[in-house]
């Protein structure tokens, strides 16, 4: 049972490039979340999903897209990366009858 995993662990992009971050969970959780974490700030919610095939916007959704084609995977896409998207990205998941979210190890993204 690996819990929540994220790939890649670290990536450097040039402004305007695109990429996809992958989150996978093996706990059969219904809900999945993408957060970003910046220095001096707590985690901020980008997008979330309450089930396969559904997504919703969080607090800071602009510049990101997501997809939940399979229950165990939640993809975060950056179509045209900007330096303001330099951050550490965390994925989380939780069961439908629990409020506690379980986090992955994070992806560190640097946009030059």
């Amino acid at each position: 049972n690996a819990g929540v995993t994220q790939t890649p662990k670290f990536r450097v992009l040039k402004t305007g490039q695109s990429m996809t971050l992958l989150c996978a969970q093996d706990m059969n959780h219904e809900y999945m979340y993408w957060y970003r974490q910046d220095p001096g700030m707590g985690l901020r919610l980008i997008h979330y999903s309450v089930g396969e095939g559904t997504t919703a916007k969080g607090e800071v959704p602009d510049g990101y897209n997501v997809s939940r084609l399979k229950k165990q995977n939640f993809l975060l896409g950056l179509e045209s990366a900007a330096p303001s998207q330099t951050s550490v990205y965390f994925c989380a998941s939780r069961n439908i009858d629990q409020e506690t979210q379980y986090f992955g190890p994070g992806t560190r993204l640097l946009v030059l």
Binding site: V4, P39, V88, E99, Q101, R108
Partner: protein, 113 residues
């Protein structure tokens, strides 16, 4: 690991002493609160939670206190150990709303020997 929270408030505690980490939450309607611990280079890890119908909850070496009147949470760690060194976040939410957790900015706990 990466630098998380370069400008976080820091609490320095000697090994063996008790630590108290405070958090002010923002939404008076929030009814569920969680404390997370984040070590360098890792994701947040659940420590303890509390619902708004309680004002105190104890775990192993940790206690969470909730004061709804002033919208304040505290995390008490007994007999602090070097392994407790990390950044601690409180988070609030409204149960049954999907939903997003709203995180505080965090406090860095440094345990000195």
């Amino acid at each position: 690991g990466e630098s998380v929270g370069l400008h976080l408030p820091t609490l320095s505690v000697q090994e063996g002493d008790n630590s108290i980490i405070n958090c002010a939450y923002s939404n008076s309607a929030s009814d569920y609160f969680i404390w997370y611990k984040q070590e360098s280079g890792k994701g947040p890890q659940f420590i303890i939670d509390i619902r708004s119908n309680m004002d105190k909850r104890q775990g192993q070496r940790v206690t969470v206190l909730l004061n709804k009147t002033v919208k304040h949470l505290s995390l008490q760690i007994a007999a602090t150990q070097p392994g407790d060194s990390a950044v601690y976040f409180c988070a609030e939410t409204l149960e049954g709303t999907a939903s997003k957790l709203t995180f505080g900015t965090g406090t860095r706990l440094q345990v000195t020997l």
